[in-house]
């Protein structure tokens, strides 16, 4: 694919100029990260925005526990920098190592810690953004609470580049947890792994991350000590004083399933495991266009996953399932070509268990069509967004 129109603004003014030009020239516009993750088909006029130059940390406010930072900064890099200073930004996604903060937030990429640490909205306190109507706006600040008339920040998060580009963030930070441990357990099937995970959410152990993967998902941790089987991956973090009891409680829950567990206490080792997991998931995702995101009820997940794991083989020989069990939501990533009934079969199973799946193009709640079209028109009257570009 030829991409001949990559632009990398130096500051917010330049970003605004680029967007205004796109409006007057009727060009489409998208972030560079999409080239890898969404494999869009571009025409030569499409503007590809690369935020690499917007990568400065503007202010780390130690009193207020906030950081003000440009949106182009690499997500993982930001986290590492903050950790060195004793601060914690708990969102963590498969694209952390590859994508900018802006991309992660605009697409609300699912964080592994979602559930224990809430969603992006709780951490994004202020933004500066260039909207697709050409306006440069500045809202919020360092205030933890803000209900000053309609939550535009909330609307921009997850807007998938259809309203504008956030170029600057003020984020709420947390104190770095005293201690971290990761426990990985081998289960005989995905059903029992998920059952154990559910018990863990309800015992006051408060895992920071709680993932279940199917056997093929275990490959995300290839070349580590981990044996291949459905896995339960738990990250515990918090105060030293309670860590041992939390690990004990965890083991007590897992024991009846006869699932052997590997406990990691070394921070470097933990970091490597996550780097590997993230990186491999990213690579898988960048190779497919048939990803399915889904959510389900805690109580129905064990059965639903079992059936998905069993039935989908008919439509694709290998696929990875990753579930964030804290919130009962996950994704199915096919490894290779899928059959024509792949989506249909998934929907059928999801329906049976009242799960919800998001097929990639849907950007609409039923019944909200007109409202969403009007919303889009308010932000993007010239329809320059590459995504969500239905006729207004």
């Amino acid at each position: 694919m030829v991409v001949n129109n990559i632009v990398a603004p130096e500051d917010n003014k330049e970003l605004q100029v680029i967007i205004r030009k796109a409006i007057s020239d009727k060009e489409k516009l998208l972030l560079k990260e999409n080239l890898e993750l969404n494999a869009p088909v571009l025409d030569e006029k499409t503007v590809v925005l690369d935020l690499v130059n917007l990568n400065k940390i503007i202010e780390l406010d130690k009193d207020n526990f906030t950081v003000t930072v440009e949106g182009g900064i690499n997500f993982l890099e930001l986290q590492t920098l903050l950790a060195e200073k004793g601060f914690y930004f708990p969102m963590d996604t498969y694209a952390s190592g590859h994508a900018s903060l802006s991309y992660n937030v605009l697409h609300a990429l699912p964080s592994y810690s979602l559930g224990e640490y809430g969603n992006y909205r709780e951490y994004v306190l202020g933004i500066e953004a260039v909207l697709f109507n050409g306006d440069l706006i500045n809202i919020g600040g360092k205030n933890i609470k803000n209900v000053s008339g309609l939550d535009i920040i909330g609307l921009m998060i997850g807007s998938q580049e259809s309203f504008g580009i956030i170029n600057n963030f003020t984020l709420r930070l947390l104190p770095l947890p005293e201690e971290k441990q990761v426990v990985i357990c081998n289960f005989k099937d995905i059903k029992t792994a998920q059952e154990a995970a559910l018990q863990l959410t309800n015992k006051g152990i408060s895992p920071a991350k709680l993932l279940v993967v199917n056997t093929s998902g275990a490959q995300l941790l290839e070349n580590t000590k981990i044996t291949k089987s459905p896995l339960l991956i738990v990250e515990l973090e918090g105060f030293k004083a309670s860590m041992q009891r939390r690990v004990d409680m965890l083991q007590e829950i897992v024991m009846p399933y006869g699932a052997p567990c590997l406990i990691m206490t070394d921070n470097t080792e933990i970091k490597e495991v996550w780097n590997k997991f993230r990186e491999n998931q990213y690579q898988l995702l960048s190779k497919t266009a048939d990803l399915i995101s889904f959510s389900g009820f805690y109580t129905k997940l064990p059965e639903m996953l079992t059936e998905l794991d069993r039935e989908l083989v008919k439509h694709c020989p290998a696929f990875t399932i990753i579930i964030n069990s804290l919130i009962g939501s996950g994704m199915i990533i096919p490894l290779g070509k899928v059959g024509s009934d792949w989506h249909e079969e998934t929907s059928k199973i999801m329906d049976e268990y009242q799960g919800k799946s998001l097929d990639k193009k849907s950007f609409k709640e039923p019944g909200m069509g007109i409202v969403q079209a009007r919303l889009k028109a308010a932000f993007d009257p010239a329809n320059i967004s590459f995504f969500g570009g239905e006729k207004v």
């Binding site: 979602l114 600040g141 909330g154 609307l155 105060f239």
Partner: protein
Amino acid sequence: MNSKQINYLKTIVDPKNICTTKEELLVYEYDATLLKGAPEVIVFPETTEQVSRILTYAFQENIPVTTRGAGTNLSGGTIPDQGGIAFVLTKMNKVLEIDFENRVVVVEPGTINQELQDMLTPHGYYYPPDPASMKACTIGGNVGECSGGPRCLKYGVTRDYILGMEMVLSTGEVVVIGSKQQVNPDPLDIVKFMVGSEGTLGVFTKLFLKIKKVSEAKKTMLCTFDSVKDASRTVANIVREGIVPTTLELMDNLLINCAEDFIGLGLDRTADALLLIEVDGLKEELDGQVEVIKKVCEKNNVKGFKIAQSAKEVDQLWTARRTVIGAVARKRPSYSMQDVTVPRNKLPDIVEEIVNISEKYNLPIGVLAHAGDGNLHPLVLFDERNKEEVEKVHEAEFLICKKALSLGGTLSGEHGIGLLKKPFLDQEFAPEVLNLKRKIMLAFDSKNILNPDKILEVGK
């Protein structure tokens, strides 16, 4: 509205749910602010279908509709200042579903926050948003304002606990957004955007709430200081030490005395400031945290440091905190409460300014704050019947808002803009932002009939 319109409404809901007597209109002209404005008719819908049919008709006839829960908001959000329908959802108050295993509750909007909590407590669960008014306010109103409460430093505000809803748009169309599951796979979060929309975007008819398991243990501390400065510095320092308490509440001397007058707990009436601090978690975690907090307090010249010993004592402290706002009326008949929020380390500055303003206008002002969030509730005391004094109150409040904004703060942390703070909004937002907000409001409510011109002037 004419009698034909009112008669038509009577074909949609039981006529006993349509009120037009002067007596009843009088009691729906107010909320918890001093503002007033009478509706032309009061309608109590009982089902989603009725809500939908009434809105369909109002849309067709261009009738303003002001949605109302318990009417305890502090921003004039339920004042039907343009007449029309006062749309009161207090009869839609059923808890429809409690699913502990999936941690979701489905309620009608008129459900009282406390009554829901009472149903959850025996099972070891709770719904975290806990506005001080929880005994009085409805979940619908909480969602309308994105209410917070003492617990939200650690556990977040209403927005973080709304999974989905059934809502009726201004046209009467019923939509379901979000779901009963813990997340919505769609990244665009219209559900969260509805939280804090102050009745301007749609009328909620069912709400899907996330509930949480009660923590294993908690500890409540009561610390007194000789200066508000010391207390606010303590607040900032505690978080720096790596501790996120569930609660960090501050009261100044005036409020300590009001609370004492009402509840009589034996608080130190001479203290200049009091911090109510609570930490929760697993039991082993707490002693260490309490120790650190105590050290921080000591470094900041704490006067008295006390750990509540019994559940009863904790309850009493909380009752004192929840009722102190009203208790100020024992000093002067009227009070007006602001809701400005500033970055945490700017607390001392804003408090200093409030003290100056209080002296300048010769008005007693008490300071109550969700200090951990930098969310202040300065309470200005006066007598509503004294017009001159009322003028002074307006000026003083304007200055407080201005100061908060100049410190990088915001007009409202949890009470919303409504009518009360509408005149100040252009101090916080640039014209482009206001314009955008206007367009968004019209995107949802093209005729501007839902709580018309609240938050900002929309026009037709």
